[in-house]
Amino acid sequence: MLESTTPILEVRNLTKHYRLVQAVKGISFSIPTGICFGLLGPNGAGKSTTIEMIEGIKKPSSGEILYKGAPRGEDFAQQCGIQFQSTALPDFLLVREVLALFHSFYDKTLAIDELVTLCDLGEFLDQEANRLSGGQKQRLLLALALINDPEIVFLDEPTTGLDPQSRRRFWHLIDRIKKQGKTVILTTHYMDEAESLCDDLVIIDHGKIIDQGSPQALLQKHLPHRQVSLHTETVIESAAVTGDVSATPGVVTIDTLSVEKTLQELMAFDLDLSTLRVHNPTLEDLFIKLTGHALRD
């Protein structure tokens, strides 16, 4: 009973000071087992510092990190999988040799054949690891993060710099991992990635958590309106529709809480609706609203 309610990871008042800056300013959150948890924020927000403190790569200035309800032991490295934002591997080693090297570091491991299938490595097993394309290399690094069959996997901006096709392919891999019941902790500054993969997330800016929740809950909480826009020369009075109407030459935009109701009202005008567009707010919009600046600033 206790196991099912104890979060797999809990962070309390975590801080990190460097000489001149405080990168992380008292962050707290807890992560239930088996979800994909996102740390979302712009470059320099403190995401990577936070995740690296949890991984044990950086030492926190203060705060507490609990794994399965207790401080992390020396064997935490045996139990977690880590993929860094950017990683080089020893030169001149083939992919299969890199896998064998990392395989030897752990007590409990997945079979290499299983990893090769899981991460689609088969086509480049005999290539030099440091000469792979961006997408191939990220899949190899993911395989290294999974080599010890970890319960918890940290992925630090795993798709940064990848082309859209490689990013989509990587998302499918993360979905596979989630389906295996593993807990995934993901940092990203891609909104679509967070929306597509994360069950729960924290938005971080300037080393602090601005808000936390599922993507849908956060959007519903902060941006409940949808925008309906239409190319038309017809003047639409505010009183005629439910919602705020704004107009620029040739385009009318209506902020509404109910898209269905607005559509019904517009149909009464007998307009050509072929240019009608409905814009759902994104995490990017949410971030701009919460912080006043865009995610990639």
Partner: protein
């Protein structure tokens, strides 16, 4: 042990597959062998190598000393001059004494016997007293080769371990290892073991190559020479580890390594003896591990020294290794700060 072996093998494969580095590891020593063969195989142009105890000016009446085919070396220390005669470094040694001229000759040296006959022919009118001293011939190449081998070992050890670890830190390989259960000690020991093997094997091949071309003098025990090579390489690798322990810039590492190697190259008696150098230079030289490698190897090769005679050099290398390893362990960081 499994982790150590995997890291050791990976590092060896990396070295073996880096064709440029591998080629240089063998080309550089090859250049040394060819260079030494060219320089030292050249026949000596001088007919007589004459040693004079005291200043040459006081031998103005010595006819053999005035010949243009005679190369003169002055000696202030009698013991040093006698060693030179014994090891065929000079053909004849002459000293002006109260009862006339005393000269030393090595009867096993043909040039020495020829020089003796010339002395008797040219200066037979003077009171000459003959002394004989025997010993095996030691050419300059026999004297200098232990130093050249040690110098190669120094470069291969310091730069070999230093640059690799600094590069690993710079490009994030060390950070990736930090995220695994591999400990810093396991990682470092594997790197040192791999480099030690490479250094000893490459130096062994150079030794064999030089011996083939130059027929090096080897009076001592080969196993003792191997022990010196292992102890020397370990101490130099440990020194390299100190430099690499937290440096994250290859440029800085290069500067620091050069700062270490250049003084050692000049003051570790690779090319010349420091016996007449000021005391402070000799003290400084004794702190350098390379000095102990060179002196111990030279003692074994050209004097046939046994373990007891070089034990103090091995102890110095052991102490250097331990101190450097302790310092490196204390300073080591997986990542740049």
């Amino acid at each position: 042990m499994r982790k150590f072996w995997a890291l050791f093998t990976a590092r060896n494969m990396e070295f073996y597959r880096d064709r440029a580095a591998l080629s240089w590891a063998f080309i550089f020593p090859l250049l040394i062998i060819v260079g030494c063969a060219l320089v030292f195989s050249k026949p000596d142009q001088t007919l007589i190598r004459l040693g004079l105890l005291g200043e040459a000016q006081s031998y103005n009446d010595l006819a053999i000393a005035q010949q243009n085919y005679t190369d003169i070396t002055e000696y202030s220390a009698r013991e040093r001059a006698l060693e030179q005669i014994a090891h065929h470094q000079i053909d004849l040694l002459v000293s002006r004494e109260n009862d006339g001229l005393r000269y030393w000759v090595n009867p096993e040296s043909s040039p020495g016997l020829a020089a003796q006959q010339l002395l008797r022919a040219l200066d037979g009118d003077k009171a000459l007293h003959e002394e004989q001293l025997t010993g095996q011939a030691v050419r300059y190449v026999d004297w200098v080769m232990p130093g050249v081998l040690a110098m190669n070992m120094m470069f291969a050890s310091l730069f070999g371990i230093g640059y690799v670890i600094v590069r690993y830190r710079q490009n994030g390989v060390l950070k990736r290892f930090q995220a695994t259960p591999v400990s810093a000690l396991q990682f470092i020991v594997a790197q040192v073991a791999s480099r030690l093997m490479i250094v000893v094997v490459v130096n062994g091949l150079i030794f064999v190559g030089c011996d083939y071309f130059l027929n090096l003098l080897m009076l001592g025990d080969y196993s003792l020479l191997l022990l010196i090579a292992l102890a020397g390489a370990l101490s130099l690798l440990s020194l390299g580890l100190v430099i690499a322990s937290r440096t994250a810039s290859e440029e800085l590492a290069g500067g620091l390594l050069n700062t270490l190697t250049w003084p050692m190259m000049f003051f570790s008696e690779i090319w010349f003896s420091l016996e007449n150098a000021p005391g402070w230079i000799q003290s400084m030289a004794n702190v350098m591990p390379l000095t102990h490698v060179v002196k111990a190897a030279r003692a074994v090769m050209i004097e046939g020294a046994g373990f007891a005679a070089i034990a103090h050099h091995l102890l110095a290398l052991l102490i250097t290794t331990l101190l450097c390893l302790l310092l490196a362990a204390r300073l080591f960081r997986w990542q740049r700060e």
